[in-house]
């Protein structure tokens, strides 16, 4: 009984878990603007792949989902694929196909790069703009990832680029200076490192200046 009483008395002390510090500044590409999705969201991802591509964009996206879905410390988000473009939060497309989403008030970078991630702030708002569908009409997508398969030479390279771009889409607006990080500018791995995970976990606990 004494033991149980002592246990009851100490019950006031509940477990606590803190978020980690960021391993690198997550806002260097956004001029200090921290952005992320509202916590608790299931993020639906639409993929427009090029049927003629030797590499499987859908596979790369699904693998990126698995990698990043393991990162949230408190179930803050879950990436999931959708086949309904109008319901997608994030649209991934191969540059070889017609863009399913229009840039809205953004300007898509015309230069060629293996991967780009875009979103635009609404004018006078702390929210990202919902981008119009390429064939007209509205979508709920606020983030677009554009891949250029002509810039990759293997499936594993595509996997790395796609996973890297999802790091940007989730809230890491920066490139790491450590080559073994997924968020290094020229990624050679296809999974977030502990440093990448810590940085995103840090972001997920901060009030964003821009909500996606």
């Amino acid at each position: 009984m004494l033991l149980v009483s002592a246990m009851m008395a100490s019950a006031c002390e509940s477990p606590s878990v803190m978020r980690p510090d960021a391993a690198y500044d997550p806002t260097t590409l956004t001029q200090g603007t921290l952005y992320r999705w509202a916590n608790g969201r299931t993020l639906l991802v639409f993929v427009a792949a090029d049927p003629g591509s030797p590499y499987d964009l859908g596979l790369a996206v699904r693998q990126a989902h698995v990698r990043w879905n393991a990162v949230p410390q408190f179930t803050e988000f879950e990436l999931r694929t959708t086949t309904d473009l109008t319901q997608a939060d994030i649209v991934v497309y191969d540059r070889a196909v017609t863009a399913p989403i229009s840039p809205g008030s953004c300007t898509f970078d015309p230069r060629s790069s293996a991967g780009y991630t875009y979103f635009c702030a609404e004018t006078g708002s702390a929210r990202a703009e919902r981008l119009p569908l390429g064939l007209g009409g509205t979508s709920r997508a606020t983030v677009v990832i554009r891949l250029d398969r002509g810039r990759v030479t293997s499936q594993s390279a595509l996997n790395a680029v796609v996973a890297h771009e999802f790091g940007h889409a989730l809230g890491i607006g920066a490139h790491s200076t450590v080559a073994t990080d997924l968020m290094f500018g020229l990624p050679t791995v296809d999974a977030p490192s502990a440093r990448d995970a810590a940085t995103l976990r840090f972001v997920l606990g901060k009030t964003p200046q821009l909500s996606l």
């Binding site: 009984m1 033991l3 149980v4 246990m7 009851m8 100490s10 019950a11 006031c12 002390e13 509940s14 477990p15 606590s16 878990v17 803190m18 978020r19 980690p20 510090d21 960021a22 391993a23 509202a38 916590n39 608790g40 969201r41 949230p72 410390q73 408190f74 179930t75 803050e76 502990a194 440093r195 995970a197 810590a198 976990r201 840090f202 606990g205 009030t207």
Partner: protein
């Protein structure tokens, strides 16, 4: 109450204990089994500045137990299954953390506090281990050891020999230490005790 009345009451209680055929009152020790169905009340499991508040909502409990009943006390063991929804809240957002499912294996004891006919009031205590079942992705469950010590105190109101209503408060120790070790800048994790209140119906056989 006068001392004479207290004595009379005590004699009556002893008589009832001796004659009672209920779940916890037997002159000769006997074995019995019981099942429980109940509700687990929600509570806060983790509240830390710089991290979401982790709470559980009302859930359900099923239990099977066996006990050796004598006139002064009973001893036994029970296996319990509990499930509760987990929710997180932070910075104005709130979201689901999945479902916490756990199994308890406990040693139990009970002793009568009062007796009225075939019914009465028992005090109960239990100690044992709780283990999580399935996957709970969110901290503090995801990285804490899957086995946690627990202790419980409770009261049961016996209604005749076949059933009882019970309420018990349990405390369960969580030690969320796992994922932090692989994360630089490490998430500080401190262990602690969590309260859990359970109420329900017990049926004896």
């Amino acid at each position: 109450m006068s001392s004479r009345r207290r004595l009379s009451r005590a004699r009556f209680l002893f008589l009832a204990l001796s004659l009672g055929g209920g779940a916890t009152l037997h002159a000769q020790p006997v074995w019995g089994v019981y099942g429980e169905v109940g509700g687990v009340l929600g509570g806060t499991w983790s509240k830390t500045e710089g991290a979401p508040t982790v709470t559980t909502g009302p859930g359900a409990l099923l239990s099977l137990g066996a006990q050796r009943v004598s006139e002064r006390f009973s001893l036994g063991a029970a296996v319990r299954l509990a499930a509760q929804p987990v929710s997180m809240s932070e910075l104005g957002d709130s979201w689901s953390g999945g479902t916490l499912r756990d199994i308890h294996v406990v040693a139990t004891t009970a002793w009568p506090l009062a007796q009225r006919g075939a019914g009465g009031l028992d005090a109960e205590a239990a100690v044992g281990l709780a283990g999580r079942l399935g996957s709970v992705r969110g901290e503090p469950f995801a990285s804490s050891p899957s086995l946690s010590p627990l202790g419980e105190l409770g009261l049961a109101v016996r209604r005749g020999e076949a059933m009882a209503l019970f309420a018990r408060i349990g405390i369960l120790h969580l030690n969320p230490t796992g994922t932090s070790s692989s994360t630089p800048g490490a998430a500080a994790a401190n262990s602690g005790w969590v309260r859990r209140l359970t109420v329900g119906l017990r049926v004896f056989r």
